[in-house]
Amino acid sequence: MKEVAGGNLEALRFLFDRHHVYLYNFLYKMCGDEMLSEDLCQDVFYNIVRYRTSYKNGKFVSWMFTIARNSLSSHFRQHRAKNAPLDELPLQVEPPENETSENISQLQLALNQLETSDRELLILNRLHEIKYKELSEIVGSTPGAIKTKVSRALKKLRKIYFQTVQE
């Protein structure tokens, strides 16, 4: 990413190839909409190009997810409750249509029932294996607080998950 910030835009191609699937999956898990996820994914990379000079030496993935979070929240701010903060947004995934419901895993269904902030933390921490330290940089918190939050979210998810499995 340093190279990109320095003006070598070709280097971004490599970063895109390496990370865009993860980014897309994160967005997809968060909003449950394929088209929207693609649009937001495009947005994120556009912003990376646009604000490349403001990139400070750090993990590219953290920076990318920070931008992704901003894109998500600004998208939902524009389309739904205008003044509600990110954590209180009614970011509920639309119920999947019948034909695609088979493709949606139990885990995804359980995740969908969590609050946005919990879901976000679990997806990043468990699915993308982002460590507490980087995670705290992304959401702007301390590693300790993140650890507690993740652990709590995991408890909630376990409850929901085994309820849905038993049904």
Partner: protein, 259 residues
């Protein structure tokens, strides 16, 4: 530890994030606690579900769109835009030009204003001078002797009086019935002795003047201006019997001063 559930430590236990001591403690607890073991099983299942969760492949359009965007950006980047370090120059130059124009127009306006008001002031001064001159001349011609003296005194106001004033003063010196007025006129004229007309007037007055006081004033004035033409009339006055002795004394004393 044995009686305390370790549910909160289980995620880190599975992630191997606990230190050796804690890890051992959790394991010990799990051997005896059914509840925690149940939790662990569930958690393992849940975490394996995370691991099994398939990555969704995005559509190929995403890649195409990205490539397109990147191409555009590279193209835009290669355009000869102002390099980063001189980009600030343009707005700064604009502002500088604005300031220059502002100050320039202000200075120009002030300059013209100055010329204009300068002209007006000069004209006003001129008219003021003219009024004064008229006032002075009318005072000099006045019936009252004291007013005439006052008028003559106004000569101080004219650093460079014109002919009209000097003529009026000469006339006073030669023909005013009042001695004091004549005396004042002599004193006033002394300042303009450079003028040939005034010099001649002094010489003439020396011959015609009968009042000894005025005579002495005229003699002093002539000596001070070093008028050589005055020597002859002075000697004539010396010979006249009617001349008072102190006037003669003055002339005798002063003639050698004219060289």
């Amino acid at each position: 530890m044995k009686n305390k559930h370790v549910i909160d430590l289980l995620p880190d236990y599975l992630d191997h994030l606990l230190d050796a001591k804690q890890h051992a403690e959790v394991r010990q607890h799990l051997e005896v606690c059914k509840e925690c073991t149940e939790h662990l099983k569930e958690l393992e299942l849940l975490l394996s579900a995370f691991r099994k969760e398939k990555m969704v492949r995005p559509g190929t359009t995403l890649k195409t769109r990205f490539d397109h965007m990147l191409e555009e950006e590279i193209k835009r980047n290669n355009k000869p835009v102002y390099p980063l370090n001189t980009r600030w120059l343009l707005p700064v130059l604009k502002i500088a030009a604005g300031i220059v124009i502002l100050i320039g127009s202000f200075a120009l306006g002030a300059y013209y204003q100055n010329i204009k008001s300068g002209n007006t002031i000069a004209r006003l001064k001129e008219t003021g001078q003219q009024y004064k001159q008229t006032a002075m001349l009318s005072l000099i011609e006045s019936e009252s002797a004291s007013k005439r003296i006052q008028g003559i005194g106004y000569i101080e106001e004219f650093p460079d009086p014109d002919k009209k004033i000097t003529t009026a003063l000469i006339k006073r010196m030669e023909s005013d019935p009042n001695t004091n007025v004549r005396l004042a006129a002599v004193h006033a004229l002394e300042k303009f002795a450079r003028s040939e007309a005034v010099k001649n007037a002094f010489v003439k007055a020396l011959e015609n003047e009968t009042d000894p006081g005025v005579q002495i004033a005229v003699i002093h004035a002539l000596v001070r201006i070093q008028e050589k033409k005055a020597v002859e009339p002075m000697q004539r006055i010396l010979k006249q019997e009617s001349t008072p002795p102190y006037v003669k004394k003055q002339i005798k004393a002063l003639i050698p001063a004219i060289t």
